[in-house]
Symmetry: C2
Subunit: 468 residues, 2 copies
């Protein structure tokens, strides 16, 4: 991978990242040394041309005490945007060490979305301290973003917008762009608004550039252009970006007035985070667990999840204990029961995983639910019969008992059907009741297959033993 095909004038002598994409360890060492010696010349030279993403990665690679020190030493040479690129816990640690004045100076020049992202996790007193050090104009914009709910479009938008009236033409618009100083840092569309600042539509920049100066803006407005409400859920907005291949979308308030813009770079993070949350939650880990979280926090949150699982394990053990007589009579039952339960658990996890992701990506809905359920039942039946044959033969040969083979075969079919049902029904029901199926499905589903597995296997065994 050739990250470093830089186009021109690359002034850095050493590579910033190694081939795995991690920040180069020699660079980290160099910065640590420079921090120790307060060698501002070296620090400035290293950081000068660095992209905010690399600077963020460098911060993460430094020791906890070194991070705020780097920022204080660099002063105005430190690009606060880098703080949007580090783990939440790293950012919180850093912000605690910096003075309100430093933070205020740092966020002052950022786009509002970045500034809000940095400030939102501060506690109210610290937030106020920083905001008080800004001018009223700066403060109002940030306060507006912070006032929207977490995970809303308003919280992630930048308030810097570029809007022109529909009656302008291409020439006027281009002249305006050339003469205006405080344009957004990056933009991809010209927004069109009426005099009351209501959103009318948007014109992609490439469309503006294809047309001659006298062409009216109103004729260029993209018919497909969409706006989102500031209160819309950011994951829904992300889904829309992805579906319609958007680059940017205007954000309007309840009255349809333009209040900001959301761009694809923020949305990419939302999309990856949403998928990442699903991965972690399905694995029994808090969605927002990060590599840099402190040990006690991690241990505590993982403990809670394991505790719930322990309760369900004991529930399954209680089911087993109903069959103490049979277990002590035929020890093979004790050896094979976990096989039945585990096979059901794995099959249910397969179905559940597909269901959870399809619900999250809106591929599974009322229109195809019946088809999906039927399909999973058939797959469960086919695989149930397959594993019934295999485990039946293995059990019969291993313990020299045909009866035991038949017992495990029956239990296997029953448990793999139960696995298919639980794997579909549990996530769907949780989703219906607005519980994130990724969080809770796993426990319920494996409880079902443990209980059904033990009960069917040992229950059928009890009947067999009674009639032997």
């Amino acid at each position: 991978m050739t990250d470093t095909h830089k186009a021109s004038g690359d002034t850095l002598e050493r590579p910033i990242r190694d081939e795995d994409g991690a920040i180069d360890s020699a660079l980290v060492e160099q910065v640590s040394q420079a921090l120790l010696l307060s060698d501002l010349t070296t620090l400035r030279a290293v950081v000068a041309d660095m992209h905010e993403a690399d600077l963020g990665a460098l911060l993460e690679a430094l020791d906890t005490e070194e991070r705020p020190r780097l920022i204080s030493l660099l002063g105005a040479d430190f690009d606060f945007t880098a703080l949007t690129e580090v783990d939440d816990s790293v950012r919180e640690e850093i912000l605690e060490e910096l003075s309100a004045q430093t933070v205020a100076e740092g966020v002052r020049d950022l786009d509002t979305d970045d500034a809000v992202y940095i400030l939102e996790d501060l506690d109210d007193a610290d937030k106020k301290e920083v905001l008080d050090r800004l001018t009223p104009a700066e403060r109002i914009v940030l306060q507006q973003g912070l006032d929207y709910p977490e995970d809303s479009a308003g919280r992630r938008m930048q308030s810097e917008i570029l809007a022109v009236p529909a009656f302008w033409n291409v020439g006027q618009t281009i002249d305006h762009l050339r003469q205006t100083d405080n344009l957004p840092e990056r933009f991809f569309e010209i927004l069109v608004a009426d005099p009351a600042h209501h959103f009318v539509g948007s014109v992609p920049l490439d469309r503006l550039l294809r047309n001659k100066r006298p062409v009216a803006i109103s004729t260029l407005v993209d018919e497909d252009s969409r706006a989102v409400k500031a209160t819309d859920d950011i994951e829904d907005v992300a889904r829309m970006f992805q579906r319609y291949n958007l680059i940017a979308t205007p954000v309007v308030d309840d009255a349809g007035r333009l209040v900001g813009v959301i761009t694809i770079d923020d949305i990419v993070d939302v999309i990856e985070e949403a998928a990442d949350d699903d991965v972690k939650q399905l694995g029994g880990v808090r969605a927002d667990e990060e590599l840099s979280d402190p040990v006690p926090l991690i241990a505590r949150s993982r403990f809670s999840w394991l505790f719930i699982n322990l309760v369900t394990s004991f529930l399954a053990a209680a089911v087993m204990s109903l069959f103490e007589a049979q277990l002590s009579q035929v020890v093979a039952l004790a050896i094979l029961a976990p096989v039945v339960a585990s096979q059901g658990g794995n099959a249910a996890t397969q179905t559940m995983t597909v269901a959870v992701r399809a619900l999250a990506t809106q591929e599974l809905g009322a229109w195809n639910m019946r088809r999906f359920f039927t399909r999973e039942m058939i797959v469960g039946l086919i695989n149930g019969v397959g594993f019934a044959l295999i485990t039946g033969v293995v059990a019969a040969l291993w313990f020299g008992s045909q009866g035991l083979g038949v017992v495990i075969a029956i239990a296997m079919v029953v448990n793999l059907l139960a696995a298919a049902i639980a794997g579909v029904v549990i996530p769907v029901v949780l989703d219906r009741y607005e519980v994130d199926p990724a969080i809770a499905s796993g426990t319920f589903v494996t409880t079902v297959t443990d209980v059904v597995g033990f009960f069917s296997f040992l229950g059928v065994a009890a009947i067999w033993l009674a009639h032997r």
Copy 2:
């Protein structure tokens, strides 16, 4: 969520999607009816203003036979881009039913990335039939894209590029854009190339628009502009887009000559797919399993995974069978052994999930591996001691045996430490040997915790029983 804030001239009377984001079922019904009656007027009216994403969703919601029929009936009115928005298996089914001529007409006007995406899964004979119906110029471009390896940047790029010489100025560039007819459908940057078509740099459109006509293009080139090689892995390219907040990146061949452009809309799909693959593989499902896959395919691939798990279950059962004497002596051992194994399996899954995702997103590397491993060991120890106390007390009270409580407590600490080790080491080693850790880690990890769980619990129990 206000998907339907359309800006202007929405001619459709019914909503396209319901509130869950699924295609409206009444709309599907209307199209089915119109297909039955070959009512071309209705079909054209419904499809006319439809976004490709909605058209793709409509196709998926139709029955298998209806899909190619809709395309044939609509002819040139059907936008083939919609085929890039459906599941692979749906696309394959549709393409099999269409004539080579229809497919050739359909892909002719698409951007090359979309055309390649549609053609790449055809078998070689069908592909050739379609390509033979194109003009040599059209064919060469598509063939070039198809010749790059799967999952390479070259396969996902569009060949339509817009490049200007560095000695032009803003005015010349804008005039060129106004006069050229066959510009790419959408573009976000002007590429700058030397006379031999080597990539020099790129100029974002907003930067072009901020500057007056006489300004030289060479002064506007983005110093951070990066190109990727056509042979680069697309997931690495996606990581770069995400890291540096890119919207588009030029693609060069080995000699540094411009051959195409990759845009963020394709990358968003790559990012979501990569995360989605991890979710599915961790859940024991084939990465490319789709909701519309046929049942036999699904049953077969899930069977393979369950079969591997069955083998490991039998391995664990074999460990258990070493302790038949103890199991038949104290039936409580049979009841509690699965609790120890399951608690270890869940703890290992937590650690493994975090490791797999951190490896995938390049957050975990040589530089922080030791820190991560130490952290997981401490978490494993803390939670191991916690659950040792809980299970020890429960077991002692339940079965009225302090000895049994001590046995399960020791086994719990041992197994949760084993879980932490396996949860880190197994994904990291797989990754080192270039095996995707998301696929294989789960089986290995739970095998370790099952075996260690049974062995430690029953082994300690054997010692206890021998000295009782």
